[in-house]
Symmetry: C3
Subunit: 277 residues, 3 copies
């Protein structure tokens, strides 16, 4: 997977305008919609059990984010996943806060178990919680002990490949170093800015982008790598735009703006992607 192959994934999104159905938390939903619009995808948000089947039917893919789940939206998630499966649409799961509460861990595990999820996108603590029921003590943030580093990169990649194999998914584990893996191959992405951790929604937006990339790119690994790299390069560009007086609110604006302006050549030039062999 060279940088040219990765850059073609965003071209595929921009030329096909994927219609993406999102069941996502109310904290970051506005940024998610604008991030999708930035890359020429069309977002629809719908979470009610009686609405999601019709909506999923006219869409091309589904993103389920459990960030502010409740009894009603969980029912909506299941109905939407079942319909996405029936339509053979890709499903992206973002297990926000898995490990932080039994409800979150169980809901994410149920969805992963019952439906043909294509791509799981989370931080390492969340993915570990899904893999083993491990408990997170930092809520929706990664626990410092779980962070992917240069030192544990090989072990982290092996874990990611094993998780992908056991769940029959492609997995994107994001943090300072991102890992994207399926059962056979794992890649490290070293783009991105530390400021992404100082805004809410960087992960949620990435999950939604991943949904659009998965609609537009049949190869799941390429789709996930394309989305992760797009967000990472956007993070780099946004950080470079920061000026005195700016803070995390300006960074959020710059990040979505960078998505809006992202094109294949920029991605090809700036992507820092390496296979972990």
């Amino acid at each position: 997977m060279d940088n040219h192959a990765i850059s073609s994934t965003i071209d595929a999104v921009r030329s096909t305008h994927p219609l993406v159905h999102n069941i996502t938390n109310y904290v970051t939903v506005n940024d998610c919609a604008n991030a999708l619009l930035a890359i020429d995808a069309s977002p629809i948000m719908s979470d009610d059990e009686t609405d999601v089947v019709d909506i999923q039917t006219i869409c091309n893919g589904l993103v389920v984010n459990i960030g502010t789940l409740n009894a009603a939206t969980i029912a909506g998630m299941h109905a939407a996943c079942a319909q996405a499966a029936a339509c053979a649409h890709p499903i992206v799961l973002d297990p926000v806060g898995a490990g932080a509460s039994a409800l979150r861990t169980q809901t994410a595990a149920d969805i992963l178990d019952k439906y043909p999820v294509s791509i799981v996108r989370g931080n390492m603590s969340e993915i570990k919680a899904l893999a083993s029921g491990a408990t997170s003590t930092r809520g929706v943030d990664v626990c410092p002990d779980d962070a992917v580093t240069e030192d544990n990169l090989a072990a982290s990649a092996a874990f990611a490949k094993d998780f992908a194999a056991r769940t029959n998914t492609t997995v994107a584990i994001t943090g300072a170093i991102d890992i994207v893996a399926n059962a056979d191959r794992a890649f490290a992405v070293r783009n991105g800015s530390a400021l992404q951790g100082r805004i809410t929604g960087a992960g949620c937006m990435l999950s939604c982008l991943t949904g659009a990339f998965a609609v537009a790119n049949e190869d799941r690994l390429a789709a996930a790598l394309g989305a992760v790299t797009t967000m990472g390069v956007a993070g780099n560009l946004a950080e470079e735009r920061m000026k005195p007086g700016d803070g995390n609110a300006s960074f959020r604006t710059y990040l979505i703006d960078a998505l809006f302006n992202m094109d294949g050549p920029t991605l090809a030039e700036r992507a820092l992607v390496e296979e972990i062999l």
Copy 2:
């Protein structure tokens, strides 16, 4: 309706500070509140059946947006509409995604049928869905075949007038060219920016503005034209402010900023409003 008459509608909003009760989707609600505050109106959001009657009673008008409807909020919409009717407050309906799901089409049709809705604000696909049960295949976006163009302008105006007559409303059908009509007259508004389609919430914000304009301006056609023109001119101004590196997130900021700075003279100078005879 000359530009001077239109410019007076925003002066009426700024001088009377309408208190507007909004039942609106959680995707764009923050932008809706800031858009109302930008024009010196006061927003209140309340959607629970047991809360909306008291809230509507102290407010001056109601905006119902079905963007992320669910069983609980639908009950709230009905209770709020009934109270708005009892108080003789204007009701603005935004049928987001009507035609995209049976629940949305039915909910919007029910509200239109049961309560004295003053103004309906939507895109052409949504209004066609309300008029005839037509199905939209682009979710919350207008279907390309439905877009108002110079070629179909006369037919679109006739459709709008007919819809307004049959529903006893004023209707604002927005897109590249906006149409505002009641049973007797139709106007085209040619302000606005294509970038409004690249952010979430341009339509939702306009519906909320329309609520404020309807409170402050008894003439429904003038109110709807004033709101549509205000948003269109704000779109023009926001686009003019775009600089290299900016994207849809900056545009969103500039759009609300332009609403904040909008005054009668600017509106009078820049409004591109024409009666369709």
Copy 3:
């Protein structure tokens, strides 16, 4: 409480990274999360009755904001408050719209009655509604007659101290002049910008900040004063950054940016805090 003592309160937040559980309205929740991240706190949003106990257990404090309450989230508020009490975590209550509806007044009063709320943060109309059942006619905004002014400052401070004594809380009543009081002492804070009233969420963000300050600073009065002053100075800095063409959307960005850049020396230099004797 001199400016040095106040400036140390934000240092305590930044060095301890409080994990704050928020049950807050969907209008301003994104800004609330970014405001907490701006001061190096970690936000988690969770409102479902079956999720909040686990989440509160791993957090350090709770903020309850009743801005868009409904039957389901009210149940979540009670479960979360009970668990916060069991864990001896500070609870901050923001009674948004108390006085504007019976549901809001009653819900806020119930929470204040049943749980050991540490700090109440609201505008004067809301606090009066909690104190006496007074009805607000301006919804979520302060009624003009209730505004704290130089003329009624002594009486307002006496009211605040009495409210704090009767409810066993520290109270932060914010407006053009802010009052922070416990049973024994009251302070006026004269920082802030009138533009804070032209965005949605200035109060909600402050309540969330107050939660982080209460976790990091055992002295409740210092915590509330620190949070109120931090937001006020951020308002001053944001207003100073306004340039031609900017409006309330830019101000919102600048306000959160100013929180991001706030440090002890800036707070010590700019805080306008005076004890009301």
